[in-house]
Each structure stands twice: as C-alpha cells, then as structure tokens.
C-alpha cells in the first residue's frame, strides 16, 4: 500500500447515498408498477442522454471522493510516513495538471505567460517580454511554429484511441444484447443505426462517444498544455473545473439527504393527524419560509465562521475544515428547502387519508404507524422523487451564488462559485482573462442543463396528472 485511505464525513455520506441509490434501482427493477415510469424515462432520448451525462458527472464526483494520504517516506522497514495532505483518486489520474504550477495567468493552450516580465536577453541585456511557461508546451523547441501542429497531432491520436476503444466496448455491449434477445448482431446494428431500438441506443452510443472523446483528448492534451489556461497563482483551470464537479454534485445530493427525512416525516404527520400536530408543523414551516433564504443562510454561515475562528484548533487540516463547512452548507440549504416539499406532501396525505383503502385499513384495526408506512408513504413517493430531481439543478446554481457572496463553500475548496468569484476580479484586465469564467460556465451549464432536461422527463413520466399519449 502506497497510501493510507481516509474518509471525510461528506465522503462517507456520499458513499452511503450511492449505495442507497443502487439499492433503490434494484428495488425498482423488481417491481413492475415502479419500473414502468422509469423505463419510460429511459426510452426517451432526452431522458437517457441526460441520465448518462449526469452519471458521468456523478462518477467524477465519486472518484474525487476516494481520499487518501499519500506516502512520503519510509521510516522503517514496515512503517511508512504519510503526508498530512489529503489527495483523491482523481488527483492521481490528473497528477500532471495538479502539480504543474505556472507563475501566474496563461491563456488556454499557451506556451508563453500572459503578462510581460523583465528577462535577460540573449546578449545579457534586460528586456520586457512574455516568458516561456514552465510546463505548458515546454517540450517544444520552436513553440510558434510547432504548437498548432503538435496540438492537432496529439488530439487526432487521442481521438483515434478513444474511438477505437469506444467501438470495441460498444461492439461487446451490442453482442451481449443481441445474444440475450436472440437477434443477429447485424440486424441489431442496423436497428441501432436507424434508431429503431426500444431504448435509444444510437443516442446513448453517440453521447458516450462524445464523452469518451472529450475525456481522452483533454487528458492527453493536459499532459503537455494547460487546456483552459492557468489562474492567478498559476494553477491549471481545467483541473479546478473538474475538481469543482464534486462540490456541485455533493451540494445537490447531500442537501436532499437532509431535506427528505424532514419533509417526508413532517408532511405525512401533518396531513395524517391534522389537529394540533398539523397546526404546529404548519407554524414551523411558515415561519422558516418567511425568512428570506439567502439571509438565513448568510446568518448561519457567518455564525459558523465565528465558531470556526474561535475553535481553529479543533480541525486537523484545512481540508477537513473545508469539508465540514460544505456539510454545514448542505445542512442549512436543506433546512431552508424542505418546506416546499413538506407542504406538497401534507396536501397529498390529506387526500390519501380519505381514500377507501386507508379507511378500510383503519377499520381492520391496522395501527396508525403501519398505515403511514405501508399505505400513505409509498403512494406519495412519486412527488418526493419529482421534487428531488427538480431541486437538484437549483442547488447547484445556488452554490455558485452563495460562494460569490462569500457565504458558500470554503474559499480554499474548488467550486465553480469560487472560480467565478476569483475570475470576476480579472474582468477589468485588458486583454481580458476569460478562461476561468468560461471553464466554470461550460462545466456548470452542462450539468445544470442536463439535470433540468432529465427532471422534465422524470416529471412527465412519474406525475400521474400529466396526460400521456398523442396530443
């Protein structure tokens, strides 16, 4: 073992959530009445393509959540010393991008720095010029002439590689698929090409091709260049943007983890028992909802800062502190966002309570707790799922805004909000430093767009009020 695994609190929660999700998928697959709407989601092109891209982001977040302390030295025969720094598996995969620091700004794929510096010329005289970068295109002897050709050849090679593996993988998948359905591979291929399969396999295959191309090409180019340039302290912007994926995804999913128990429990109780229980729960959520959310979050985060500055010794490392702040942010976002779902669930429980089957259960003497668990909750789960999927993108966007007002995640943590916040100060520069902003924009926009598209498909499939069929 050349490393010592370590688990941050958010990692553990994230893993637990992932296992929960997998369990959910297996549960749904076994029950036809639950799997029908989901197979409708997968049959729609938008649905499966968005799901695929979301899973891609999710996988990056998952890889980035496997943390460890790297080994630095060998103390004795069997004992090693481990660095106090926390790295993740993603850091290993992107090692060159993480460690290759330039002095300051450099444009995407540049070989020279963005700003002029005093340098010693060939004859020893001082002159102001753009210095070569330490790493970006350092393997080129004549960067001006060779750069374009080098970039093209590297990208072409990488693309060819990516497409080759992609073709192999898809041939294998299709072969398996054809074996299972007793189809010949050729007819299946023809069907896929003409988009005549039950599930939109052609769209899925094309999405995976694009994802694979982007991944391989960016990783290959990243070996020798800074794909999205470097920021003020010379860090690779592409690396930052990829690292921010984890923050965005975690904010989206962990908040849900906090929202759901509150909303489900209180909503069901209020709708089921009515009377004073209902009054109290309504009072709680009306009060919470009345406070402007941004201000409540601001107040809570300010107080957290006060606490952390007073108890600085309680945290082993900066990473741990930033991690705790992320968790706290999810907590407070959860507290401000459960009220909407709770109100929906309360109203639904109100309706369900009057249904004959619940009255029958009551007449049979089934205990109230059991009625809630068995008969009420499963029947409003579609509302829960729809609301979770709908809220996800909003939370990712909220992170950026909150980080911009300095009440988001820790400033040391990679996040799109922090990237925008830092890049904004460079807007006044001339020529403008646009790459940090663009990178954050591209990564965030893709995630939020496909989350929104997916949410729409899920809502249409799960909501019984939406009339299905041809219009």
């Amino acid at each position: 073992m050349s490393m010592q695994p370590t688990f941050l609190i958010t990692d553990l929660l994230f893993f637990a959530l992932t296992i929960g999700l997998i369990a959910f998928v297996f549960m749904v697959r076994k029950r036809p009445h639950l799997s029908r709407p989901w197979s409708q989601v997968l049959k729609s092109t938008t649905g499966s393509v968005s799901l695929m891209i979301l899973l891609f982001y999710y996988a990056i977040a998952l890889i980035d959540s496997m943390h460890f302390h790297p080994r630095v030295a060998q103390a004795t025969e069997s004992q090693y010393q481990y660095s106090s720094e926390v790295h993740s598996l993603l850091d290993v995969l992107m090692a060159p991008m993480r460690s290759r620091m330039e002095k300051t700004f450099s444009a995407p794929l540049a070989t020279h720095s963005f700003s002029k510096e005093m340098m010693q010329g060939e004859e020893g005289q001082l002159q102001r010029d753009y210095p070569r970068l330490n790493y970006g295109g350092a393997h080129l002897t004549q960067p001006e002439e060779q750069k374009a050709a080098d970039i093209i050849s590297v990208s072409l090679q990488a693309s060819a590689q990516a497409l080759f593996y992609w073709a192999l993988i898809w041939l294998f998948i299709l072969w398996l698929y054809s074996q299972r359905n007793n189809q010949s591979l050729v007819t299946l291929l023809a069907n896929v090409l003409r988009a005549k399969t039950t599930y939109p396999l052609r769209a899925i295959a094309m999405t995976s091709a694009i994802l694979m191309l982007l991944t391989v090409v960016s990783m290959q180019l990243g070996q020798h260049y800074h794909l999205f340039g470097t920021d003020k302290v010379g860090q690779d912007v592409f690396y930052q943007a990829v690292k921010s994926v984890r923050t965005g995804i975690l904010i989206g999913v962990l908040t849900t983890l906090i929202t759901l128990p509150l909303a489900i429990l209180l909503g069901a109780l209020a709708g089921f028992f009515r009377g004073w229980v209902d009054d109290v729960i309504q009072y709680i959520y009306t009060t919470l909802n009345s406070i402007p959310h941004v201000l409540l979050i601001a107040a809570a985060v300010l107080l957290l800062q006060v606490y952390m500055s007073g108890h600085a010794d309680d945290f082993d490392s900066l990473t741990e502190r930033a991690d705790l702040r992320l968790l706290f942010l999810c907590l407070i976002l959860g507290i401000t966002s459960w009220t909407g779902l709770c109100r929906l669930l309360r109203a639904e429980t109100f309706k369900l309570r009057e249904m004959e089957y619940i009255q029958a259960a009551e007449a049979f003497g089934v205990s109230k707790f059991k009625i809630l668990m068995r008969h009420v909750m499963p029947n409003f789960m579609h509302i829960v799922i729809i609301s979770v999927v709908l809220d996800f993108s909003g939370l990712v966007l909220a992170e950026a805004v909150l980080s911009y007002i300095n009440i988001g995640v820790d400033p040391s943590m990679n996040s799109w909000g922090n990237m925008i916040n830092q890049a904004r100060l460079e807007m006044a520069r001339d020529p403008i430093v646009w790459w940090s902003l663009s990178a954050a924009f591209v990564f965030m926009f893709t995630l939020v767009l496909f989350a929104n598209l997916f949410a729409d498909v899920v809502r249409d499939a799960l909501d019984p009020r939406v009339v299905r069929g041809e219009q």
């Binding site: 009306t286 406070i291 402007p292 805004v401 939020v448 767009l449 929104n452």
Partner: protein, 325 residues
C-alpha cells in the same frame, strides 16, 4: 373582508415572534457576544478588557433574558433580548456594529432598490407574458418545442453569468452604457438601463416557461372550447378569454413578491454598485456586521408575510368565486 384581514394580521403575529426568536437564538445564544467580539477584534492579543469595551459600546454587555442586577421592570428591559430583539417589532433597528443608524440607512437605501426593481418587474412581466402567449399560440409545433428547450437552457445559466456577460458585452465591448455606478435623479437613468435589462433577460427562461404552462392549462378548459365553437378567431380567444383568465394566477404570483422589491437584488446591486438595500446586505455580510444582518432578516420576513396577506386579498379581488371566511 376587514374582519378577514384583521384575522390574517393576527395570524402573522406568532410567526413574527417565531422569526424574532430564531434570530435571537442564532445571533446571541448559538454564538455569544464574546465570540463576535473575538471575531471582530482578532483572537490574538485581545484582552478581556478590550472585549468588554467592544461589547459595552454596542450594548452587548447586558444579560440575555433577565437582568438580576436591576429591579422591577428594568430587570426585563435592561437585557439583550429587549434592547436588540424585541425592539425590532416596532421597527427600531438600533445602530449597526459600526455605529450607524440602521433605520436611517434603510430609509435612504430602499429608493435605489425600488428604482431598479419596479421597472425590471413591470417590463419583465410584459415581455414574458407576450412571449408565453406567442408560444401558446404555436402550441404543439416545432416553435413550441424549441422555445421550451431554449427556456430550459436559459434557466440553466447561472444568474452570475447573465450579469457578467451583460456587463462585458454591453458595458465593455459596445460601450453603450457605463458598467457600474449610480447617480441621483434623472442622471441615474443611464446606470439603470443595463441592470434592468439583465434582470429581465435573466428572468425570461423560468417565467416564460411557467406562464406557458398556465396558458396551456387554461386553453384546454371547456369555456375556451365553447368560445371557439361560437366561431371566434384563435386570436380573439387567446386575448379575450385565455389571457384574462390566465392573468389571475400570474398576477397573484406577482403580488407575493411586491413587498420584497424593497429588499432589492443582492447580486445585481452588488455588481453594478447601486447603493440599495441589496448591496447594503452584502456589505454587511462581508463586514460581518451582525446588527445589520439581523435587521434585514427581520425586515425581509415582515415583507414576505405582508406579501402573503396581499396575495390572499388579491385573490378575492380578481376572483369573485373565492370568499374569505
């Protein structure tokens, strides 16, 4: 009617008390004034005496709920709860941690906020309703399909990018209007155009999509079919029947945000340097001025509750079927 309004107001009182208690607990119990003093003064080289002075200057030296040193009524009034929290009920905000009168600042700063928010809201409504109605007219066609996708794409763009992009494109590249700043009177106009425009564009995606759903719901109702079967043209049906009925949910949805317009927009005001309540709040957050944040939390909640009451009233005004009882 008036009995209903009074009852609604009375119902708001326990909520306000709840909000007041939450802010009190958040700001004074979870974190003691000592913590705040340490935060402001820095934790190193700070003596007990300095902390005591800092607290005394701002009135945080009093006990939280009950002052045992005072007798009679003073035992309750000479406390942080009475001095800092209870006074919020009569909109006495006290002074900020840096010594300025918060009430005065708010009364000064709400005008730029309103000057920005009202045109954004009105023009925005006009634009989005027009767009949504047009899309509803073309329902079921490719125009509808792509319009919805464009709306989703617009929703997916962070509000930060609308502001940054707008500033860059119109302020810096085209140099039509100044990038940021503010002026008094009519001179403010040239500073307002860009933020208002960005506010409108930023809201187009979500509002158009929402209004489109409202229109489509309305279009499928029986009275619309009746109107068509009478032989009315599609335009007439849309404008005379659908639009008027769909305006009910749209306008009542607007009423709830009306009072909150005072609070201004945090991001826009901050980016454009407009001295409204939004940038006031952001500055307070960045300076960690707890007194201002506390005041704004309370003010925002009061305005929200007023908005809820107004919404209920407006329902009865526009829809005679709803009776308040």
């Amino acid at each position: 009617m008036s009995a209903y309004i009074i009852r609604r107001m009375l119902y708001a009182i326990p909520i306000l008390i709840g909000i007041n208690l939450i802010t009190f607990v958040l700001f004074f119990v979870v974190n003691s004034p000592d913590d705040m003093a340490l935060m402001q003064l820095g934790s190193k080289h700070t003596t007990e005496l300095q902390i005591e002075d800092w607290k005394r200057e701002r009135g945080y030296h009093l006990p939280l709920l009950y002052n045992a040193e005072q007798s009679g009524f003073d035992a309750l009034t000479e406390t942080i709860f009475y001095q800092k929290s209870a006074k919020l009920f009569v909109f006495d905000f006290g002074s900020s941690d840096s010594g300025r009168d918060i009430g005065y600042d708010i009364s000064q700063r709400m005008w730029p906020s309103l000057a920005l928010a009202i045109p954004t809201l009105l023009v925005g409504l006009l634009v989005t309703i027009t767009l949504a109605l047009t899309i509803a007219f073309f329902r079921g066609t490719y125009i509808d399909y792509w319009a919805v996708i464009i709306c989703v794409a617009l929703i997916s763009i962070s509000s930060l990018f609308y502001i940054i992009g707008g500033q860059f494109l119109i302020g810096k590249l085209l140099k039509i209007v100044p990038i940021s700043g503010f002026d008094t009177g009519l001179h403010a106009l040239k500073f307002m155009i860009l933020p208002v425009l960005i506010g409108i564009v930023g809201g187009i995606g979500s509002n158009t999509r929402w209004y489109r759903t409202i229109f489509l719901e309305e279009i499928n109702k029986d009275y619309v079919r009746t109107a068509r079967s009478k032989g009315l043209s599609e335009q007439l049906v849309l404008f005379k029947h659908v639009l008027r009925n769909a305006l009910i949910p749209i306008l009542t949805g607007v009423v709830v945000v009306l009072p909150l317009l005072f609070m201004g927009s945090l991001l826009t005001e901050n980016f454009f340097g407009i001295p409204g309540l939004g940038s006031y709040t952001i500055d307070a957050i960045n300076r960690q001025d707890f007194a201002i944040v506390r005041a704004m939390v309370f003010l925002g909640s009061v305005l929200y509750i007023i908005g809820l009451v107004l919404t209920d009233i407006s329902y009865t005004l526009v829809d005679p079927r709803i009776r308040l009882s």
